[in-house]
């Protein structure tokens, strides 16, 4: 059973310099109760993917395609239903801890807000005392010291790592089916990173959540994920389960990423790094987007873009594995009245 099924998702941003297509006809499934790592460099569109799923893109964005959450297309849902999906259905932990929490409200109040939502949805009446107890328990679960005190604090009084953990606790309180974690560790010290990662893994396993773990660090993804999705310049380059991907990377980009890791043995000599830089979205190369940096590129790579090919139960977008695959059509987007759509309007767009 797939928790999320994304078909032909394209996201554009309108900028003063023109339209930028940040995600291009993305098609991917996220199986339930598994952790899928979404790996890509900065600017590859991975955060955009997260925001697209929760429909919280900034107003400059235009979205095409469909995102099915347990069969319902999130792109077409009316606001009311969408609101119900958020929180107890899909939850997102955002990248920058310092702007994640409401600066003028105490942490405790914000956690209780989340609990209120859950109680309401389940038809339970809100009991302040027990809600508070549960919030404190969760803060304990995320290994925050002195949770009672933390409840009374304001966000500016907490460190990045602590805020990140508060947000995770909030997610837990909501007991969502899907959690999207956008670089939850990038703003943290290395020691805290390890803690947060193991925490997430623990929780995912014990609650059976579907976790989408977005990161730029393949090593981190390896530690956490069951499946992995490699994004480059807005396209999926490789997709598959983590162990086979790491043991036998198919796409040259993945191979390059893995080669870049220091191996831990002494006399390594010069560290490997991929030549060149990722392309700017304003200036995408014709043909395969990785062609200018690929050590195996041949003629066809510069002319056409490869389709996604199935290989050994995994997927690769590379001519080295050439075969054919079908395409789907794009869908339209729905918005209504005054609602989150005013704050995060999703415009329907035309394919360029």
């Amino acid at each position: 059973m797939n928790a999320l099924e994304i078909r032909d998702l394209s996201v554009y941003y309108r900028t003063p310099l023109g339209r930028v297509k940040v995600l291009d006809s993305l098609t991917v499934d996220f199986p339930e109760s598994k952790t899928t790592g979404i790996v890509g460099e900065s600017g590859s569109g991975k955060s955009t993917l997260g925001f697209a799923i929760t429909r919280l893109l900034p107003p400059t964005a235009i979205v095409n395609g469909s995102i099915r959450y347990y069969g319902e297309d999130l792109m077409r849902l009316p606001s009311k239903r969408l609101r119900e999906v958020r929180g107890t259905g899909v939850f997102m932990i955002m990248q920058d801890p310092f702007s994640s929490l409401n600066p003028v409200k105490r942490v405790g109040d914000q956690l209780l807000e989340a609990l209120q939502v859950r109680y309401e949805r389940r038809g339970e009446s809100f009991d302040y005392a027990s809600a508070r107890k549960e919030a404190v328990k969760r803060l304990n679960d995320v290994k925050l010291p002195d949770p009672e005190l933390v409840m009374t604090k304001y966000p500016y009084q907490l460190s990045g790592g602590q805020i990140q953990r508060v947000v995770i606790a909030m997610g837990l309180l909501l007991e969502p089916k899907v959690i999207i974690a956008d670089e939850p560790t990038s703003a943290l010290d290395v020691s805290i990173q390890a803690q947060v990662i193991s925490l997430l893994k623990e929780l995912q396993e014990s609650y059976g959540m579907t976790l989408l773990f977005i990161t730029h660090d393949l090593a981190v993804a390896t530690a956490v994920s069951d499946n992995v999705l490699i994004l480059y310049a807005g396209r999926i380059m490789e997709q598959g389960d983590i162990s086979s991907t790491v043991k036998k990377p198919l796409h040259p980009y993945t191979q390059g990423l893995l080669k870049s890791f220091p191996s831990g043995s002494y006399k390594e000599g010069k560290l490997f790094s991929l030549k060149g830089l990722p392309p700017s979205f304003f200036n995408l190369p014709s043909g395969c987007r990785f062609s200018d940096r690929c050590p195996y590129a041949f003629d066809r790579c510069y002319k056409d873009e490869p389709e996604v090919y199935d290989v050994e139960g995994r997927k690769v977008r590379c001519f080295l594995y050439g075969k054919r695959r079908k395409r789907r059509r794009s869908g339209r987007v729905h918005g209504s009245g005054i609602g989150p759509d005013q704050v995060f309007p999703c415009r329907e767009g035309r394919n360029t």
Partner: protein, 321 residues
């Protein structure tokens, strides 16, 4: 680097580094003029300002040369009628017509000509006051922000003291103390205006102080004054220029309001605000008398506000349409 930061700002994502200034630079160098050229409001604003400024320069020069050569009639060379002609009952309070497009006033003078004649004064007032205020404000603000400590405290308290008195009130009080006339109004307005810029510059300096290039320059032994001037001033000035664009309009507003109250340019010389005030006594019978001067003020100020507003939007990175 520029494009990425600008893109990040436009996309609405938070840049984790203090991208304000770099995004500003990026936005500026690439899209400022593009944006301003294409945003309707900015274009209208710029058009109005251009007409106003060009005319003021032409007319102002004529008046200047005229007074220098003792031939004041040069001032109304380009005008349909003599703006300060002697009172003439026959032409008094005539409604708008082809001969007198905006009608005549009580003394029988053509209102359009008087409006055109008075234009350079507003332009000079706006320019002189804002520029002087910026210079004085920069001095106070940058010194206060840079050196900090009790220098900062004292300078800021002084600034607060000035700011405490609403501009108009202070200008009125000054006018009596300094005496009537155009120049004293300019002085009063400048004295009122600089504190805001001192505040702005101080704020900017405080942000820029910790940016690194200050320390680096000093490590290289660059003299303090050069650091102040070159690095801090040049970087601080960006958002302030945006504010200035808006401020020209505000000065004109205040200046006309003072004129309305009878402070500033004295009769028989025309001034938009005082013309509006005089016209009130004949309202609504001779509606044109107060209507056209008021509308002129409104229009010119709108021009500055339109342009200044758009400019500020660009500088702050609110470039999303």
């Amino acid at each position: 680097m520029n494009i990425t930061n600008m893109l990040k700002k436009t996309l609405g994502f938070r840049s984790n580094v203090d991208a304000q200034a770099s995004a500003v630079r990026g936005a500026q160098s690439l899209s400022t003029f593009y944006y301003l050229r294409h945003k309707k409001e900015a274009v209208i604003g710029m058009a109005i300002i251009a007409v106003f400024v060009v005319w003021s320069v032409i007319e102002g020069s004529l008046q200047l040369i005229g007074s220098y050569l003792r031939k004041p009639s040069l001032g109304w060379l380009l005008l349909p009628h003599n703006p300060i002609s002697s009172p003439n009952v026959a032409t008094s309070l005539l409604p708008p017509s082809p001969a007198y497009p905006f009608g005549t006033n009580f003394e029988g003078q053509d209102i359009l000509s008087r409006l055109l004649y008075a234009a350079p004064k507003d332009a000079i007032a706006a320019f002189a006051v804002v520029v002087s205020a910026v210079i004085i404000g920069a001095l106070f603000g940058i010194v206060a922000g840079y050196y900090g400590g009790w220098v900062d405290e004292i300078l800021m308290r002084v600034t607060d003291a000035f700011l405490a008195i609403p501009g108009l009130i202070l200008a009125i009080a000054f006018s009596i103390l300094i005496g009537p006339g155009f120049n004293s109004v300019l002085i009063s307005l400048t004295i009122i205006w600089w504190p805001v810029y001192a505040r702005l510059f101080r704020g900017q300096t405080l942000t820029l102080k910790y940016r690194g290039f200050v320390e680096i320059s000093r490590l290289f032994g660059v003299s303090e004054i050069r650091v102040l001037f070159k690095h801090i001033l040049m970087n601080a000035i960006d958002p302030i220029i945006a504010y200035m664009a808006l401020d020209f309009g505000t000065v004109i507003l205040t200046y006309s309001t003072l004129a309305f109250l009878g402070i500033g340019v004295q009769p028989p010389y025309p001034e938009w605000g005082s013309m509006a005030s005089d016209g009130l006594s004949f309202f609504p019978r001779a509606w044109w008398y107060t209507f056209f001067p008021s509308i002129t003020i409104l229009l010119i100020v709108i021009g500055f506000i339109l342009f200044g507003d758009s400019f500020q939007d660009v500088i702050s990175g609110r470039v999303v349409d």
